[in-house]
């Protein structure tokens, strides 16, 4: 699979750590403090936004894996979809947590029912339901098929979340990236790009690790069946 060509989980993790640590240092000692009302709390942006992008990327991977599973019925795509949703949900929960902290610091509230936050919450709830669905179906093939169909339907909310601030600009979230370019200083953009690369590498490292775990679980189950058959 294409993920294997990226390198081992350990190499990806080291790469991610290098980019993220550099990005973290630059965020505090190179990028200027935001001149708007956000002030120092804007420093959260350098990790918060890449985590959000990676959460949506993980759900996009799950969507592609779901389509591929329905086309080919290969269990490897079911495994990829499962781990992608799992990691997407982890990243989403982190976005919610860091977003709430940032919201309290910048706007004085932990939560606001504005378009971006609300659509992201819906994404979290939808993908949490994905696991409930998987738990309720016992037959492996049916479970994989239902999960794939659900992942495709749930993905409808992902572009809505991404474009929420563009469709409904009245919310609290500012639109940073526009068709005319990024609305931030060059040093801020450079720092953001580093953390974005680091976070994507981290997502790839975690994906590789979790896929290896799922493959080993399958191998272990097969070995157990062999052992029982021969006993």
């Amino acid at each position: 699979m294409a993920l294997k060509k990226l390198g081992s989980p350990a190499a990806l993790f080291v790469g991610a750590a290098a980019f993220l640590v550099t990005g973290l240092l630059l965020a505090f000692w190179y990028a200027p403090t935001d001149a708007s009302t956000m002030g120092f709390s804007q420093k959260i942006f350098y990790f918060h936004a890449p985590i959000a992008e990676c959460a949506l990327l993980a759900f996009a991977v799950a969507f592609v894996a779901a389509v591929q599973y329905l086309r080919t019925q290969k269990s490897v795509y079911d495994r990829l979809g499962y781990v992608s949703v799992r990691l997407g949900l982890l990243f989403s929960l982190l976005v919610m947590a860091t977003g709430m902290i940032w919201g309290k610091a910048a706007w004085g509230v932990w939560w606001a029912w504005e378009p971006r936050l609300t659509t992201f919450l819906v994404v979290c709830l939808l993908y949490a339901a994905y696991f409930v669905l998987r738990q309720t179906v016992e037959d492996e093939t049916r479970r994989a098929t239902f999960a794939a169909v659900f992942a495709i339907i749930a993905f409808v909310d992902v572009p809505l979340t991404f474009f929420a601030t563009r469709f409904m600009p009245a919310g609290l979230h500012p639109v940073v990236f526009t068709t005319g370019g990024a609305r931030m200083e060059g040093s801020m953009l450079f720092t953001f790009c580093l953390t974005m690369i680091g976070m994507t590498l981290l997502l790839a490292a975690l994906l590789r690790l979790e896929l290896a775990e799922q493959a080993l679980k399958e191998e272990l189950d097969e070995l157990k069946i062999r052992a029982e058959a021969g006993a």
Binding site: P9, S41, I44, K104, A205, L209, E213, L216, L220, A227
Partner: protein, 60 residues
């Protein structure tokens, strides 16, 4: 908001991120190692059993 207060929120956010990612990578790596051990042990046991069975058949 004062700088001192903002620093607390920023530190809190980065703390949550670091702990979550470190914990998820560490726990995934630990689960993987444990599974690798189990697979290796089971493979060894099966190989031994197959050798014993083959040896028994040769004796006959």
């Amino acid at each position: 908001m004062s700088l001192q207060e903002a620093v607390k929120y920023v530190a809190g956010a980065y703390g949550v991120i670091l702990v979550a990612f470190f914990a998820s990578y560490w726990s995934a790596a630990r689960r993987l190692r444990s599974l690798e051990r189990q697979v290796r042990a089971l493979k060894d046991a099966l190989d031994k059993r197959e050798q014993t069975t083959a040896g028994g058949e040769d004796d006959v």
